[in-house]
Symmetry: C2
Subunit: 504 residues, 2 copies
């Protein structure tokens, strides 16, 4: 893997001096075109051995390009806001918008590589993370990003020479500390781990670019040229790059599916409803105040037919909570800043910290529901969304979030009845829009989309709960009970884990 | 101040039951109109004594309104990201956008009140903070916000009764802990401090609303009614509320001003330039690596005539820095999310943490330059901006930021020469737009705006440096030297302070 980067590559002063001006103005032009076009975010990972010229290369890229449209993100120890969320949250919040270049000095690779060397992560944990990273990068590429992953390599002798040279020069001596020299001692171990990680993440959509780091001119010029070519190629390429997807296949030939199996006649009488409501609300309010919940979070997702009663159900949950502990996130059209980011970005930004509750009124499932049915995105986009969504929810669950998802289903007749009732009520809030009527015409298309969604995204960590919602009382009680049960199970699980840690 | 809130106000069950449905639907209507109009952010501060019903009131507001368009912010101990920035940063990031309601459970008042009681803040420090808060709220109101500051009051006996009642009820017992009972012991002290703070912040633009907290129905209904009336009044009021402003007065009758006094013939020869450049860049790079800089930050602001060489000057600074330590923020048109916030919000979001550098390429001075000259905002808006800007920079400096501001001035002939040169160069990056030519026609209007800006915003903490920029070498050296001198002074000051703390 590192063979070509151990040949002692060098560029002489004269060649370098001649090449730079042209490269520089070409880079500037490419950068401006990128900005003007505003479609491609460029993600540049600068990684490699200590002393291999990471910092110098970043600085020279700034010299060559317009620094106003580059941002560099350095990741040291996570802040407490980051610690309380999934591992990848800090990288999501640092993604460059379309048209800009984001340089990552340190990235999602630093954690697993260093933790593996220090023995904090097991090999299988690293492999799981690698899988996650590959999928993350694939998603970014599918969303239009250009990812360039540079690894600056040094041989062991080369690293020793570089560190000595840096130490000797008063302008760079500060860069070298004991920690760097220690790293030299673990050179072989690092190479082992890095070799494995790089090989496993050397994907077709985001391959590694390994560059010999010893000679400054060679390293800078090579990096600059590669960056330029990659940007130019992506600007020239008109077709959208996406992962191949298999079209959905019909499996419900007998007309039976998860929706048609629902018994929409289920009901709860008023008196019983009031008892149940009080019981489950009381239970929820206890659960979120349980000390074990401080290491968990609760994420509720509400999807459902129009007029199925999402709002009312949400209120029955929040009535049991303290307003200071939760946020409701209504999902409408994305803002300008959200449109400049991958689809999932606007949901990542609302991921709650530990001990808190976030309720999504509509959600990331928009892509496989309304966007699919209305044709707002390409088939390839919504087809790949299923696994992107699963990845997202998996990361949430991994970080301690309890993800509870509801689909509220009402019958077509019941919906008509509710639409008509709402039209009669004068309050603006119950206004039925033309869109609601139009959606109704696509009842069957939605039906199929919902069944596919449930099949493909109901996972062990984040199962769907289908709610028979013709009777509002029944629906609300089922929702409250489900939230309680999921929370209870999660807190009991937390208990088991902490017991295990204590060795009991 | 609390007299009317000690009368034992009560609302009987029947009256309450009758009043609520109407209030509720009126609140919902008002909330939807607010949202549809999208111009007014509503900021509701819910504060008061322990046990006075803060949490209950927030919860009931959620019950009465559409919770999807309300957010509640609870502020406990600041996160480390917040600690490393000015005190008010955490509140800025929590402001609701236009059309939404943001409830602050705990607010910018909690800190000074509790720190005063605990003896952490001196009386004069509290008064300084009060002054800052008043100006902050005034700015919010001028920017269109509706601020409602509720204080729920209890007599000492009333508080004891409330705590006992809460403790007795199993559903609310968890709300009461030892800390609450301790607060009862310091009731008089709290009243003293609160009385002072409330009196001093009882401004015409954001007066306090003091409500007796003992009776739930009275408190809820009163709060709801006040909120409703306030929103309705603001929705009905067409005229924009702004602080009265005095128009600018001409004082330069003799034709002399800070710009005309500049000697634009100042030059540095190439050889000397190179020496100076190396010297100051080396110095900057040392200063930002000085351990004392970890408790400081550097904020550079670049403003100047078109083609004055801002970009080149910025590059000469960044060349001395590590790309991982700084961010360049180019200021262009605000995004949708930025337009939904007060003018200064989009600058606050880029305030660096300690130990870091942020360079603004154009800045918050846009309001008193281009927006003033082009008439993009009302006269009242740019006139009040001077003091809002001074407040902002004062807060930055207070938190340890070194704020260095440059105006780069070139002569009218020199600008023409540069425009023509740029037009000849084929690279897109040097494109001269029609806007540049149009701005040139307004040379005199800009001249006046610049002089006013310097007079009104060059402060001890954040002075303007006017840079004679006809000669780029001269300009760059002056800029680098100024940054060094300001940084040196700040680090020396940090030294003095830490010595003082150690009592030497």
């Amino acid at each position: 893997m590192f063979e070509s980067a151990e040949l002692g590559h060098k560029i002489d002063k004269e060649t370098y001096r001649k090449a730079v001006p042209e490269l520089r103005s070409a880079l500037l032009d490419a950068q401006y075109e990128l900005k003007e076009q505003g479609k491609i975010p460029v993600i540049v990972l600068v990684s490699g051995q200590d002393g291999a010229g990471k910092g110098e290369t970043i600085n020279i890229l700034y010299e060559w390009m317009d620094p106003r449209f580059i941002s560099t993100l350095a990741f040291s120890a996570p802040t407490d806001e980051e610690q309380q969320r999934p591992v990848m949250w800090r990288y999501w919040r640092a993604l460059p918008p379309k048209g800009r270049i984001g340089i990552f000095a340190g990235s999602w690779y630093s954690g697993p590589i260093h933790d593996r060397i220090d023995g904090i992560m097991t090999k299988s944990a690293v492999d799981a993370r690698i899988d996650q990273i590959n999928r993350f990068e694939q998603m970014l590429v599918n969303e239009g990003a250009l990812i360039l992953k540079f690894w600056f390599h040094l041989t062991k002798d080369g690293q020793r020479r570089r560190l000595k040279a840096l130490e000797k020069d008063p302008r760079t001596a500060w860069r070298v500390n004991k920690w760097n020299w220690d790293r030299l001692k673990t050179y072989d171990k690092l190479q082992d781990v890095v070799g494995h990680v790089l090989r496993m993440t050397n994907t077709p959509w985001a391959p590694w670019i390994i560059i010999e780091g010893e000679d400054d001119r060679y390293r800078s010029l090579t990096t600059g040229n590669i960056l330029l070519d990659a940007i130019k190629q992506r600007l020239a390429g008109t077709e959208k790059q996406t992962t191949p997807v298999a079209p959905p296949v019909p499996v419900n030939l007998d007309g039976r599916d998860v929706l048609s199996e629902l018994d929409l006649t289920l009901k709860i009488a008023k008196k019983e409803y009031e008892n149940q409501l009080a019981k489950w609300q009381g239970r929820i309010s206890e659960l979120v105040r349980d000390p074990r919940f401080k290491a968990k979070s609760l994420i509720c997702v509400f999807e459902g037919s129009d007029a199925a009663g999402k709002g009312g159900a949400v209120r029955r949950i929040t009535a049991a909570l303290d307003a200071r502990d939760y946020q409701i996130v209504p999902i409408a059209a994305p803002t300008e800043e959200e449109r400049a980011q991958p689809y999932m970005w606007r949901f990542w930004r609302h991921v709650p910290r530990m001990g808190r509750v976030t309720i999504f009124d509509r959600s990331w499932y928009g892509r496989v529901l309304v966007e699919r049915v209305e044709g707002f995105c390409a088939e390839a986009d919504w087809l790949r969304a299923y696994s992107e969504i699963n990845d997202f929810e998996h990361e949430l669950a991994d970080a301690g979030a309890v993800v509870v998802k509801f689909w509220l289903q009402i019958g077509k007749d019941e919906q008509l009845k509710r639409f008509k009732e709402r039209e009669k009520i004068e309050f603006k809030r119950f206004k039925i829009t033309e869109e609601d009527w139009r959606n109704r015409e696509k009842w069957d298309a939605y039906h199929n989309a919902i069944c596919d969604m449930v099949d493909r995204t109901s996972t062990g960590n984040a199962p769907w709960t289908l709610v028979e919602a013709n009777d509002k009382n029944y629906a609300r009680v089922k929702i409250l009970r489900t939230v309680c049960e999921r929370l209870e199970a999660a807190l009991a699980g937390a208990d088991d884990k902490s017991k295990k840690k204590q060795g009991t």
